[in-house]
């Protein structure tokens, strides 16, 4: 898809947004789920993300891929969501000491349930690791993750290695 020109009319923006949602909607939903545990909060966050993308469209000039642009905005809204919350998120280190759920035969029955367990484990990662992991799980490469988050590729690699160790412990 060609990058839209700045100052696009609202109708074109809406069309572009529809295409973005079709291409990245489920991934944006999963990203929101990594920032918000509660279903209502999650839906609100997805809405905020989509509105932020809609608003940011005039600034998109194709310097990066559409996917990078969209996920950068989504992560930024996720951070803003965490900042507005009253209860701070617990870090993985704290959570690991409190509880580390072992393998549960019932939960392992279906892929969706495994997905739930994976999501729960991702929630317990510190934010920096969580961001790298969710982008990796969506199929982003090191360079693209570095571009979204504003960190170096070697930093992405280091965070991912540590995050995977933590995930193995948590799962």
């Amino acid at each position: 898809m060609n990058p839209p020109v700045p100052d696009v009319p609202h109708s074109d923006r809406d069309t572009w947004l529809e295409a973005v949602l079709e291409a990245h909607g489920p991934a944006l939903g999963r990203l929101a789920a990594s920032y918000a545990r509660d279903l209502g909060e999650r839906e609100d966050l997805v809405q905020e993300i989509v509105v932020a993308i809609w608003k940011a469209l005039p600034r998109f000039r194709g310097e990066c891929s559409e996917r990078t642009f969209v996920f950068r905005i989504a992560h930024n809204r996720g951070i803003a969501h965490l900042a507005r919350r009253r209860v701070p998120t617990a870090s993985a280190a704290d959570e690991l000491e409190v509880q580390s759920p072992g393998p549960n035969p019932e939960q392992a029955l279906s892929k969706a349930q495994q997905g739930d367990r994976l999501l729960e484990a991702v929630h317990r990662l510190p934010l920096g690791y969580r961001q790298v992991v969710t982008l990796t799980l969506e199929g982003f490469g090191y360079a693209e993750i570095a571009d979204v988050l504003g960190i170096t590729e070697s930093n992405v690699g280091a965070r991912l290695t540590r995050a995977r160790q933590m995930l193995r412990q948590l799962l």
């Binding site: 949602l21 510190p126 571009d147």
Partner: protein, 191 residues
């Protein structure tokens, strides 16, 4: 190169989750419409306050109304100057990355806290000017009687109390948000 089976398995499990809410399109449409109305309302308030008093001064040709219009425009100018100073450098992130967004969010929170202090300081001369102008415009003879009129009581004193309560609540919210952002930045930096 060997395939990373663990990562592939996790990716499969992760992508099996479909979490996009069905009513999203409608909600987004409603939100964007609300945003457009918000911008229109801001413009209308500025036009109504500034333009209204100016128009009144021109049509009435009365010096007291001219003083009111001048006062309103001075206040608008001061408010805009403060607003521009506080927004300087906080319009958009230095780079289009999540790390830069974090920095600008922290800056906006700090500026927001300063803005509340500035608004509180600006509120005192605005209220003072309005009351003094109204006192002379209405040819009042007794200050106490004027200050205890129901309309003045409601607008000036109840309005002040409501504005103060809002400022306290908003300041608390911003401080909480700033603390969260600083904590998240530490978490992102691995400290």
């Amino acid at each position: 190169m060997e395939p990373d089976t663990e990562l592939e398995r996790w990716q499969g499990e992760w992508r099996a989750q479909d979490m996009i809410p069905t009513s999203l399109a409608r909600r987004v449409e409603r939100e964007t419409r609300r945003m457009r109305w918000g911008v229109a309302a801001e413009i209308m308030v500025t036009v109504a306050m500034g333009g209204g008093t100016l128009g009144w001064a021109i049509l009435s040709r009365r010096p007291d109304v001219a003083i009111l219009a001048a006062g309103v425009w001075i206040i608008i100018a001061v408010a805009w100057t403060i607003s521009m100073l506080l927004r300087r450098g906080a319009w958009q992130p230095a780079a289009a990355t999540t790390a830069a967004f974090m920095e600008i969010s922290i800056l906006r929170c700090e500026r927001g806290l300063r803005a509340i202090a500035a608004q509180a300081l600006l509120f005192v001369p605005i209220l003072g000017f309005d009351l003094v102008w109204l006192y002379f415009y209405r040819d009042e003879t007794d200050v106490w009687t004027f200050l205890t009129r129901p309309a003045v009581l409601l607008i000036a004193w109840v309005g002040t109390a409501v504005a103060a309560a809002w400022a306290v609540w908003y300041r608390r919210r911003l401080r909480c948000e700033l603390e969260n952002l600083l904590r998240l930045r530490r978490e992102l930096e691995g400290r």
